[in-house]
Amino acid sequence: METFFFVFISTLAIGTALAMVISKNTVNSALFMVLHMLSVAGFYTLLNAQFLAVIQILVYAGAIMVLFLFVIMLLNLDEDEKVVSKIDFKQLISFTLALVVLAQLLYITGNYAGVLPELTGEPIAAVGTVEAIGDELFTTFLLPFEVTAILLTAAVVGAMLLAQKTSNVIDE
C-alpha cells in the first residue's frame, strides 16, 4: 500500500513539475505548481510529518500560489508566449548540461539504495506532531528559529525599500 502511494505521488510530483515548466500558458503553469505542492504535501504525510503536510498545503499551495495567480492576472501576460519556441544552440547546450547533472545526481543517489536505516514503530509516529516540532523548535533549534525571524523582517524591509517611491532623505 505504502509503496503504491509513493509511486503514485512521485509520478504526480515529477509530472506536474515538468508540466509547469513546459506549459505555454502562465496560468496553467501556476496551477500545475499548485498540484506539485500538493503532491509534495503527500510526501510529508508518507513520512509521518502531518503538521508539515498541512502547513505545506496552507502556505504554499494556498497563500503563496494565490498571490502568484493574482500577480499573473494583474500583469496580464501574453497567453501565446511560448517557452519552447524553437530549439536553438544555447538551449541545446543547456539541455545537455542539465542531463549531465542529472546523470551525476542519479549516479550519486543510485548507489544509495538500501543504505537507508529502517525506521518503524512508535518513535516515528511521534516525530511529525505539532508538539514534537514545537519542542524541537524552541529548544534545539532556538537559534535558527530566532534568526529566521530576523530573516523574514529583513525580507520585508528589503521589499519595502525596493518598492517604495520616496527617494533620497536629506535632513542636514
Binding site: 548540461l97 542539465a98 547533472v101 550519486i108
Partner: protein, 669 residues
C-alpha cells in the same frame, strides 16, 4: 640603558612622520619653518643623547646587548626579527650618525632657509637618519639590508632634491643605478650566507663561520665587498659620488661624506672575523681601496669646483679606509671613518657656507639690475674670503690641517695608523703587492695634503677675484658676509672635533717606547678590540717611528709646496705649470680618467646600439608579433568572455551548471 636602543631608531622616524604628514596635509604648517627645523633637529639630537647615555654605560668589555623587539615574519626555518644590537662597534657608528647628523640638521636650518620645500627636505633628512640607524644598529642582515636600501632611496631623493634641474635628477638616477649594481651583489652574498648557515643573524653567522667552505667564504666576502663598492663609491662604481654633489650641500656633508658612504666600511668591519679567513679577498679589498685612493686624489688636483674637489677627496679617503680593511687594520679603518666624518663634514659645511655667500653675491647683483651669471662653486672666482668669512675660514683651515695629516690634528693619527697597517701587511703574504700599495698610499697622502691646501689657499687667501673676472661684478665684495650662527656653530663644533678627535686613538707605542711599560693609551683600539679581528702589528718600534716620520715629512712637504704654489693668487699660474709639467698625464687626470666615457662607450652605447639594431628589430618583428598574437588571443577570449558575460542571467546559470559538473566530477571521481 641599552634596552632603550629602539628609541634611538624610533625618534627620527617620528620626526619624519610629523614633518612629512604635517607638511603634506597643511599649507600653514609648511610655512612654520623654524618649527619644522627644530622638530627635525631635536628628533636627531635626542637619539644622540640616548646613544651617549648608552655609550657611557658601556665598557670595552661589555657583552653585546641585543634588543629583540618583535618577530617580523616567521615561516618554517626562516625567521626575521626586528632586533637592534648594541656593541662597541655599532654604538660608535650610532654616535657618529646622530651626532654629526644633529649638527648638520642645525646647519641646514640656516642653509635651506629660503627653500620652497623646506619641510620635505627635513622629512627626507630624518628618514635618512632612520634608515642609517637601521643599517648600523640592526642585528641581522635583513635589517641591515633594509637600512642599506633605505639610505639609497633617501640619497636618491636628496640628490635629486631640486629635481626641476634635469642634470640634478640625472645625477640622482645615476647614483641609484650604480648603487643597485652593488646591492645585487650584496643580495647574492646574503643568499649564500643563508644557504650555508640557515640564518641571517649576526651572532649566528659569526659563530658558525666554520659552516662555510673556503670558496663560499671567499665569494661571500667578495660579493659583500662589491656591494660596498657601490655604496662607498670605490672603483669601478665610484663615478656616481662626484655627480651626487648636485644635491644640497648639507646632504653632501651628511650622506656623501660622513655617514652613508662609510656603511661599506662598517659592513666589512662587522664581518672582519670572516674576512681574515680569506686573505685573497682581503687582498682584493686592499688593491681596490689603494687604487681608488690614488685615482681619486689625482683627479682632485685638477678640479676647480670646490664641491667636486671635496667629493673626489671623499672617494680617495674611502679608498684609504678600504686599504686599511684589506690590510687587516679594521680598527684603523673605523678610526678613519670617525675622524673623516668630523673633518670632511666640516669641510663640506664650510664649502656650503662659501657657496651660500657666493649665491648671495649673485643674488644681490641681480637685485642691482645687473645681469651677471657665474658658477658660485668655481674657486677661480673666489679668493680672499678669509677677511669676510672668518669663522668659515678658520674651521675650514683646521679641517684641512686634519685631513692633510699635520701632527696632533685628528687625521694625522688615523692616517698614520692606516699606513702602519699597510706596511705591516707587507710583512706577511703577498708582501710585494702590499708594499706597492703602501707606496701608493704615501703618494696619496702627499696628494691629499697638496690638493686640500690648493683648495683652501685659492678660496680664502689672496684677493677676491670675482670683480676682475666677471663684467658687471665690480665692487661685489661688499655683498660678501659671514653665514648666520646656525651655520657657524656646527662648523666650530666639527672643527673642534677635527682638531682633537685624533686623541681617541693615539698609538700605544708613543708612550711604551719611552716608558717600556705595557700601558694602553689607544682608547679606540681597546674599545673595539673585542668586536673586530685586527691583525697584529709586528713592526718594531724603530719601523713604527720611521713610518710616523715619513708621514709627517710628506704632509709638511706637501703643505709647504702648496703654500708656495697657491698663496697670493698664484693658483692659476701654478695649475698651468703643473699641466705643462705632467702634460698628457694631467690631461688624463682632469678628464677623470675618462671613466664616464669608458662606461658610455663600453656599456651605454653598445646597449643603445644593441637595442637599436637588434632588439628593436627583434621587438618589432618578433616581440610585437608575439604581443599582437597574444593580444589577438586575449581579444578572442575577451570576445568569448563577452559572449559569456552577456548580462543574460540564463547564461550565468549555464556557466554555474558547468561549475557544478566540474566540482561533482572532481569530488566523485
Amino acid at each position: 640603558m641599552a634596552e632603550y636602543v629602539w628609541l634611538i631608531v624610533l625618534i627620527p622616524l617620528i620626526g619624519f612622520l610629523i614633518n612629512g604628514i604635517g607638511g603634506l596635509s597643511s599649507e600653514a604648517y609648511r610655512k612654520q619653518k623654524t618649527l619644522i627645523g627644530t622638530i627635525a633637529t631635536i628628533s636627531v639630537f635626542i637619539p644622540f643623547l640616548i646613544a651617549l647615555q648608552i655609550f657611557f654605560g658601556m665598557g670595552a668589555d661589555s657583552e653585546p646587548y641585543v634588543a629583540r623587539l618583535f618577530t617580523w615574519i616567521e615561516a618554517g626555518s626562516f625567521s626575521s626579527e626586528v632586533a637592534y644590537r648594541v656593541d662597541q662597534l655599532s654604538i660608535i657608528m650610532a654616535l657618529v650618525v646622530t651626532g654629526v647628523g644633529a649638527l648638520i640638521h642645525l646647519y641646514s636650518m640656516g642653509y635651506m632657509k629660503d627653500d620652497e620645500g623646506y619641510w620635505k627636505f627635513f622629512a627626507y633628512l630624518n628618514l635618512f637618519i632612520f634608515a642609517m640607524l637601521n643599517l648600523v644598529l640592526g642585528n641581522n642582515l635583513i635589517l641591515l639590508f633594509l637600512g642599506w636600501e633605505g639610505v639609497g632611496v633617501c640619497s636618491y631623493l636628496l640628490i635629486g632634491y631640486w629635481y626641476g634641474d634635469m642634470a640634478k635628477s640625472d645625477a640622482a638616477k645615476k647614483a641609484f643605478v650604480f648603487n643597485r649594481v652593488g646591492d645585487f651583489a650584496f643580495l647574492v652574498a646574503m643568499f649564500l650566507v643563508f644557504r650555508a648557515v640557515g640564518s641571517l643573524d649576526f651572532d649566528i653567522i659569526l659563530n658558525n663561520l666554520s659552516a662555510f667552505t673556503p670558496e663560499i667564504t671567499f665569494w661571500v666576502a667578495v660579493l659583500m665587498f662589491i656591494g660596498a663598492t657601490g655604496k662607498s663609491a670605490q672603483i669601478p662604481l665610484f663615478v656616481w659620488l662626484p655627480d651626487a654633489m648636485a644635491g644640497p650641500t648639507p646632504v653632501s656633508a651628511l650622506i656623501h661624506a660622513a655617514t652613508m658612504v662609510t656603511s661599506g666600511i662598517y659592513l666589512i668591519s662587522r664581518f672582519s672575523s670572516m674576512y681574515v679567513l680569506t686573505p685573497e679577498a682581503m687582498l682584493i679589498v686592499a688593491i681596490i681601496g689603494g687604487l681608488t685612493a690614488i685615482v681619486a686624489a689625482t683627479i682632485a688636483i685638477t678640479q676647480y669646483d670646490i664641491k667636486k674637489v671635496l667629493a673626489y677627496s671623499t672617494v680617495s679617503q674611502l679608498g684609504f679606509m678600504f686599504l686599511a680593511l684589506g690590510s687587516g687594520g679594521f680598527i684603523a679603518a673605523m678610526f678613519h671613518v670617525v675622524t673623516h666624518a668630523f673633518f670632511k663634514a666640516c669641510l663640506f659645511l664650510g664649502s656650503g657656507s662659501v657657496i651660500h655667500a657666493m649665491h648671495h653675491v649673485e643674488h644681490e647683483l641681480e637685485h642691482e639690475g645687473k645681469d651677471v651669471h657665474f658658477d658660485p662653486q668655481d674657486m677661480r672666482y673666489m679668493g680672499g674670503l678669509k677677511k669676510y668669512m672668518p669663522s668659515t675660514y678658520w674651521t675650514f683651515l683646521l679641517s684641512t690641517f686634519a685631513i692633510a695629516g699635520i701632527p696632533v690634528f685628528s687625521g694625522f693619527f688615523s692616517k698614520d695608523e692606516i699606513l702602519a697597517f699597510v706596511f705591516n701587511a707587507g710583512m706577511g703574504e703577498y708582501s710585494y703587492i702590499y708594499f706597492a700599495l703602501w707606496g701608493m698610499a704615501v703618494l696619496t697622502a702627499f696628494l691629499t695634503a697638496y690638493y686640500m691646501f690648493r683648495l683652501t689657499l685659492t678660496t680664502f687667501h689672496g684677493t677676491f677675484k670675482l670683480p676682475s673676472k666677471v663684467k658687471g661684478a665690480e665692487d661685489s665684495e661688499k655683498y660678501l658676509h659671514e653665514s648666520p650662527s646656525t651655520m657657524t656653530i656646527p662648523l666650530w663644533i666639527l672643527g673642534g672635533l677635527a682638531v682633537i678627535g685624533g686623541f681617541m686613538g693615539v698609538p700605544d707605542f708613543f708612550v711604551t717606547t719611552f716608558t717600556s711599560s705595557d700601558i694602553k693609551i689607544n682608547w679606540l683600539h681597546a674599545w673595539l678590540d673585542g668586536v673586530t679581528s685586527d691583525s697584529a702589528l709586528v713592526l718594531s718600534y724603530g719601523t713604527k717611528w720611521i713610518l710616523v716620520a715619513i708621514a709627517i715629512l710628506i704632509a709638511v712637504f706637501a703643505t709647504v709646496l702648496a703654500y708656495r704654489n697657491y698663496d697670493n693668487d698664484k693658483g692659476e699660474a701654478s695649475d698651468a705649470a703643473l699641466e705643462k709639467r705632467f702634460g698628457s698625464l694631467y690631461q688624463v687626470w682632469s678628464d677623470k680618467y675618462k671613466i664616464d666615457e669608458i662606461y658610455d662607450a663600453s656599456i651605454i652605447q653598445p646597449t643603445f646600439k644593441l637595442s637599436d639594431r637588434v632588439l628593436a628589430v627583434f621587438d618589432m618583428k618578433i616581440v610585437d608579433g608575439f604581443v599582437n598574437a597574444v593580444g589577438g588571443t586575449v581579444r578572442f577570449f575577451g570576445s568569448l568572455l563577452r559572449f559569456v558575460q552577456t548580462g543574460v542571467v540564463q547564461t550565468y546559470a549555464l556557466v554555474f551548471i558547468i561549475g557544478v559538473i566540474l566540482v561533482l566530477s572532481l569530488i566523485i571521481f
